[in-house]
Amino acid sequence: MDMTQYKALFLSESREYLRAISEQVVALEQSPSEPGAVDTLFRGAHSLKGMAASMEYGEVVVVAHSMEDLMARVRDGGLKFEAGVADLLLEGVDLIDAMLNDVEADRPVTPPPGDYAQRLAGYTPPPPRKKAEKAPPPPAAPASPEAEKAKEAPALDAGTVRVKTELLDHLINLTGELVTNKNRLLNVAREAGSQPLNDAVSETGKLLRALHDEVMKVRLMPFEAICDRFQRSVRSLAKKSGKEIQFEITGRDIGLDRGTLEQLVDPLNHILRNAVDHGMEESAERAAAGKPEKGVVRLCVSRDRDRIVISVSDDGRGMEPQRMIDAAIRKGVLTPEEGEFLSPRQALMLSCIPGFSTAREVTDVSGRGVGMDAVNAAIQKLGGTLEIESEPGVGSTFTLKLPMTIAIIHALVVQCGAVKGAVPVTAVLRTVELSRRQIETVGKRQMFQLDGETVPLLSLNRVLGLPLGRFPNGILPLFVTEAKGRRVGIVVDRLLGQHELFVKPFGRPLSRMAGLAGGATLGDGEIVTILDLADLL
């Protein structure tokens, strides 16, 4: 029997099982009586073994088989599920994951360490040490029929089909092209002055919007799909730093665009690392402050109309805005005068400036500031925003707000010299037409007053290396955006209004240029460049 035809299915299903296993391991560690978790773990290892045996991947079989046997010992009550068992299972997950990658790349499979199977077979839990007064968790009883029923059935509904993700990307692409073409038709209708044509095109526009929304929905994947990575990293970080942490995830079933989801893993991991590594105090420090010894880190996903809101909060030590300002001045990224202008909220955003760090020491796992600028840039690239709230002694919350879709965006189109550029409206706080009289010069910088705050001005022409605008009537068009935690007025030659754009990524060499997020075609066929302000400024 030719097994190569089953390889793709083998890989995707095996990875699903690996994900389920790591999730259940972490769940069991948090609450040892988690109903059905022991069974799920056993079944996952068992199924992996069976599939790998069919594909004749002997090394995978050996590892999965050892994991299955270990779980059988737990299920039958002979072995208690504790950290040692969890570590061995997670090690197995990593081993199999690496082997699956080899299989996928048609490389010879890296054999697992020879002693893995023996270590599992001969595993005995370490004798309990100082925490012996703790009551032992209830034995993981075989799941009762009720518990079995309560479990979510991973049944394949007869009304579902599996579709290649490329096909979905293709559908999105076609829908986007249709939107561009609709805008072209709209122009034609306007020029022809035909009301019936105009109406028909508007109606088509509405239908396209609906089509786009439906296609986007198909691309949605539950947040669940990336949860296990966070659980793994929080668990190992907590272990490394010797802190006791309870990690909670809510909103696992909220759907996000597949592309967005992939690009969220690193930023969220970084924020979580910061929370565990820097936000959370040591147990002793918590006890002294009258807090429960076990710190809580929460990852919440929710939907707010057409936006996804993701927040990471901890009940740790929080951040002092003044300390952030002092540190920024000390590091020379801020002048003392600038420091006085900052609101507490802006002060917290200083952590997103490249090179900024308030960590007392930089550990091997994270250093606050080292990557927050990268996190902020990644979120802006997704058309989203980052907000930081913190209360000293109480904890910090990092909130990400993301648009549901990144392929079709609303953007402000601006003219600078001969160039038309577009800025996602999510990055635009407001537009202003400023009279020259309203401009103040502070030192070498030009500023203006906005809602009682002094906001610096910057010329987009200058940033892009284009000749500066002249503004014969004394009015400067500009839009206000946020860069490095501060509001900035970006002066352009003309504001051309808001457009619905289908963004396409640039190919090389344009894709390698900083500040360009992609391109789009306007209704009249003209090409605009989508500007990545976070990158440009």
Partner: protein
Amino acid sequence: MATTVMIVDDSLFMRKMLRDILQEEGYLVTAEASDGEEAVRLYRECRPDLVTLDIVMPNKTGLEALQEIMAFDPQARVVMCSAIGQESFTATAMQTGARAFILKPFNPELVARVLKETAQG
């Protein structure tokens, strides 16, 4: 008329492989279930001539499903599928009414022979 079969296995990979083997042999796969509960429900609905039944599954194991299917239809022809290391279940399943056993990983010729015997027996 082709012999109808229901495939029960929680792994899509296994179901697909088994389906391909069976179709190659001229069987008509009329139902697929991914857990024990679904298997019982679909058996009542589809009344297939043959059932291949995995043992380790969520929401009712293969053995529990077997009991219910046999209680509903004592004439049901069920072939248990199991992996190495589960021989202990063999006796229980045979007492409950299973007709035969096939071992994973599947050997297409062996699967074909066992199913043919079960269908005729």
